[in-house]
């Protein structure tokens, strides 16, 4: 009789259970907290709606018989798998209210892909400010996760009135073409569904991917046919030149170059041409079925299982009041399979937790901050002060560095759950080597080839935001999420105001002057910090890749995990893993 099992069953099948049900009292006390979470969610939902309605109304596209980018994604992506990213990203505050591309991670025909398309409602998919950076974040994600990149191209080229914001520079709109070449070089396929008119930049956007599938009305070309005037020798437009331009435009009959007649019938750049928009998307689905992907069974260590506690509890557990502590393990228990967690060195570096959990049956590492006060710790303070959760101390930094290094050895993707106020400061902290240990953690992360994702649950502050694999970890961080309670700043506004104006206050006080003007400036600074650290601001400026509701976090972690295990570049045989053995001892 044949028998089958998952690997290292004694370690992974049943791991230590964590978390507990919320008490009636906890539920009662959290009502106001849930309201505060909802308040932020409503602000974010309004912003998301505004972006979705940017440009011309969807109705106009539908009346022409076309599909919007949102219709195309809806048709293309497997139901329930879409995890949007960069939805509110608009760092240059464009008048369009967005960067003109829509992207995220999703499954197509059961396989994970990073998916991006031009918003054809916004200037027919023009290059606008901030768009190149958005695209680069997406191409980097495909590279990090080693999954196909799927483009829905519909790009009219540079918004000519603002060419200086997109055309030139190291990370300008030309850089994605090099990224596409890089992905191809690395063996990461790029599928391109092409719609509409794609001249110049749009042409390179069309030609640079791996597989090109076109709609019958699409074209890609070095330049468009619409530039009817040449050089104007006068250096300005006068009435005579305007008249010539009017006549030229009226009589202009040329078709756009690079049509299907050319690039399917003659050059054969296009693999397929479809007479319907859906046909192009069906073609992408066909190619997605050909993409390399292991059966999940290859890497699963147990059957997938949901957490034992409801995800909605998260809105009650994570306090909106940033000064309130909470039990971080209660958060973790609502994210991991069957609410299980195999913790690494729980008695050492108590301010952080690190360990292995399962997500959809795959082994995944989690690292996060604990909250509260830790009397008798850190050991180097000798009782001079107690440790406070969210801060990092010597043992915690050493533990994280060790754990990350071992995860690298065992090929465990890492999910970081940040809620951090910084690293301990002062002479004792310096003597305890915290500066070097912080950078040592950065070094440990960079030394691995691992994919990591970061969730800034609440606070992302000071250098601790960096060392816990924040988005600055360009080579490892696949994406960073915020929540409706996220605040990201170098330090709290009150601390910053005190640091900036304390000496000025002393000076004014000694001179016997009214302190009100200085106090006004300090309070203005505190308000400014508040305004520029809230979730919608973090999303708009790119501090995070997306703000996600707390109950939705697991879905994104599932996407991250599934993408990581779809076609990994490096494999550690589960039975040769070291970390589970080290944890058990």
């Amino acid at each position: 009789m044949s028998r089958k099992q998952t690997p290292l069953r004694p370690y992974f099948e049943k791991m230590p259970a964590i978390g507990k049900e919320l008490s009636e009292g906890e539920i009662r006390r959290s009502r106001e907290n849930v309201d505060l979470v909802r308040e932020q969610e409503e602000i974010l939902a309004r912003e998301a709606d505004r972006v979705k309605n940017a440009g011309i109304p969807a109705k106009k596209i539908h009346e022409r018989g076309g599909m919007t980018i949102y219709d195309r994604l809806d048709y293309l992506v497997d139901k329930g798998s879409w995890c949007p990213l960069h939805s509110l990203y608009n760092p240059r505050d464009n008048e369009e209210g967005c960067t003109g591309v829509v992207n995220g991670i999703g499954k197509i025909e059961g396989k994970w892909a990073v998916i991006i398309g031009f918003d054809n409602k916004v200037m027919a998919g023009a290059w606008i400010a901030g768009q190149a950076e958005n695209i680069l974040m997406v191409t980097d994600m495909a590279k990090r996760l080693n999954v196909p990149l799927v483009w829905l191209t519909n790009c009219s080229g540079v918004k000519l009135m603002e060419q200086e914001t997109v055309y030139a520079g190291r990370r300008s709109s030309g850089a994605p073409f090099y990224r596409h070449a890089d992905l191809n070089h690395l063996g990461i396929p790029i599928l391109n569904g092409i719609y509409g008119t794609n001249p110049a930049g749009g042409g390179y956007q069309g030609i640079s991917p791996t597989i090109l599938l076109a709609h019958e009305g699409a074209n890609i070309a070095v330049g468009g046919a619409g530039i009817v005037g040449g050089m104007n020798p006068k250096g300005h437009i006068d009435a005579e030149a305007a008249r010539a331009l009017i006549e030229g435009t009226r009589n202009f009959k040329a078709k756009d170059p690079g049509r299907v007649e050319t690039h399917f019938d003659q050059t054969a750049y296009f693999r397929e041409v479809h007479d319907t928009e859906q046909g192009v998307l069906d073609g992408i689905k066909d190619y997605m079925r050909m993409m390399p992907a292991y059966e999940p069974t290859m890497f699963r260590v147990a059957a997938p299982a949901p957490p034992r506690f409801p995800a909605e509890d998260l809105n009650m557990i994570l306090p909106a009041n940033q000064k309130r502590p909470y039990d971080a393990v209660q958060i973790l228990a609502r994210l991991t399979d069957n609410s299980e967690f195999m913790e690494y060195r729980p008695d050492y570096g108590r301010e952080v937790f690190a360990g292995i959990a399962k997500i959809d049956g795959f082994p995944v590492a989690f690292i996060g901050n604990r909250q509260g006060v830790f009397p008798g710790y850190p050991e180097y303070a000798n009782g001079a002060y107690p440790a406070v959760g969210g801060k990092h101390y010597r043992q915690g930094l050493i533990k994280q560095g060790e754990f990350v290094t071992l995860c690298g050895r065992d090929n465990l993707p890492i999910v970081w759950l940040q809620d951090t106020t910084g690293i301990d400061v002062g002479d004792l902290a310096e003597e305890a080597e915290l500066l070097a240990l912080g950078q040592s953690l950065v070094y440990s992360i960079e030394q691995t080839e691992l994919s990591m994702m970061c969730v800034v649950l609440r606070k992302g502050t000071a250098a601790a935001h960096y060392i816990m694999c924040g988005p600055q970890a360009n080579n490892n961080n696949a994406f960073t999420l915020g929540t409706p309670l996220t605040e990201i700043y170098v330090m709290h506004g009150e601390t910053a105001a005190a640091a900036s104006y304390a000496r000025r206050l002393v000076k004014e006080d000694e001179a016997g002057n009214d302190l009100t003007p200085v106090l006004d400036k300090m309070n203005q600074m505190i308000q400014d910090y508040q305004d520029k650290s809230r979730p919608a601001y973090c999303a708009k400026t790119g501090f995070v890749d997306e703000i996600v509701s707390l109950p939705d976090l697991r879905r994104y972690i599932q996407a991250f995990t599934g993408a990581n295990y779809q076609n990994p570049r490096s494999i550690t045989p589960v039975h040769q893993m070291l970390l589970p053995r080290i944890i058990r001892g």
Partner: protein, 70 residues
């Protein structure tokens, strides 16, 4: 009679109840402040507040008795 003690050293920031108030288990009774963090102290049983041993602003040590519930 149950006595609530302080879990940490710090300062009493807010007292949410008065002597004679009826409280339920898990109600928030006192908020302590230490290291810029608020540490709430919850009732461990239902009953009536019979005595409050501290006032707002008092410094406290770990293990100090804060409140009695009868």
């Amino acid at each position: 009679m149950a006595e609530l003690t302080s879990p940490i050293a710090g300062k009493v920031w807010k007292i949410m109840v008065a002597v004679g108030d009826k409280v339920e288990m898990d109600d928030e009774l006192i908020i302590l402040e230490a290291l810029k963090m608020e540490t709430p102290v919850y009732s461990e049983e239902s009953g009536t507040v019979s005595a409050i041993m501290i006032k707002e602003g008092d410094p406290i040590n770990e293990g100090d008795i804060l409140i009695s519930i009868g």
